[in-house]
Symmetry: C2
Subunit: 198 residues, 2 copies
């Protein structure tokens, strides 16, 4: 029996984790569309063919779901940061920005603004993760300013500007489904790149 427990479809723990992730993902999609407070646990459950009570077998609270949604995006973003190679700062930034855009379009992840609905440690952690991402982007911008590929200005405002455009993607993308995620991503990179290039 031991030799079967590790293999995907029969490994209880893996199954559990997969289902837990599905819950969080489904909730995230709903949060992105209608917002955290306009989405009830019953709706989330129904979208998965479950009852509300079943959700609590996988998560401790609704707030925990929101927390995990945030962590999911920031983790994916961390991966992007590590993977963003390039000669110049501008090149690195372009790669990164494009990957961020793809996360939000192709992968259906949501960069939720609703941090205020998180309390205490949850909120603290999420803000820290967001700060980490912002610092990583800022670093790229500064590298670019140093190597001459990005024009000099206040890096913080630049980063907020760029991240804001990204956040807004959640609101309008897929309401306006005629454009593919890759197309959007390209357009965003172009727009961003022209805006900051020296």
């Amino acid at each position: 029996m031991k030799d079967r427990q590790d293999k995907s479809p029969f490994d209880r723990e893996a199954q559990y984790n997969a289902k837990r992730r599905a819950v969080i993902f489904a909730a995230g999609a709903a949060f992105r569309r209608r917002g955290y407070h306009n989405t009830s646990m019953v709706e989330i459950a129904k979208s998965l063919g479950l009852s509300k009570a079943a959700l609590y077998y996988y998560v401790k609270s609704k707030e925990e779901i929101l927390y995990e949604c945030h962590i999911m995006v920031y983790s994916a973003m961390d991966v992007c940061v590590k993977a963003a190679k390039g000669q110049t700062g501008l090149e690195k930034l372009s790669r990164l920005y494009g990957e961020f855009a793809r996360l939000l379009t192709r992968d259906g992840l949501a960069l939720l603004a609703d941090v205020d609905s998180l309390k205490g440690e949850f909120q603290k952690t999420v803000l820290a993760r967001r700060g980490k991402i912002e610092r990583a982007v800022t670093r790229f911008v500064k590298i670019g300013m140093h190597d001459g590929s990005i024009k000099k200005s206040d890096p913080k405002v630049t980063v907020f500007f760029l991240m804001g455009a990204l956040n807004w993607l959640n609101v309008w993308y897929e309401s306006d489904g005629r454009m593919s995620g890759d197309k959007i991503s390209q357009a965003f990179v172009a727009q961003m790149s022209e805006g900051v290039a020296a």
Copy 2:
């Protein structure tokens, strides 16, 4: 008695309207900071030194307050649109964008994303107003593409990109209060302008 009723401090109706506006403005500020659903009517009332019940003398419901908050910004934006003069499309767009940014920083108005918390006619109207603004901005962009001041691309994506950056302003501005509204506005115009210029 008739000759005194029109003068500000004694005109009952003007007084009422001023108080009503104060309610909406205070609520808007709170919504911007903590979000619509994280702000209770009691909190709004207390911030004005009133009890919850008194609010209902000025508004019909919390939803109506949110609605009026939206309308307030879009009305101010409409004024900006009308006032945005310039030789080229890029110039018009720059003026407009700068004024938008000032609305959100200097004037303390909030461009709330929380449209999903509005129902029925309220939501319909707000979305229409938002659409109107977006079309106005799009028009400027197209003019610029025509007169050669703005580089050709998908206007819709460009506009969403720019409006997104603006929306995000609500989230971070004033948490990071070391920069004046005018400075931010200038930086945003520069960033935008470089991004779209031919």
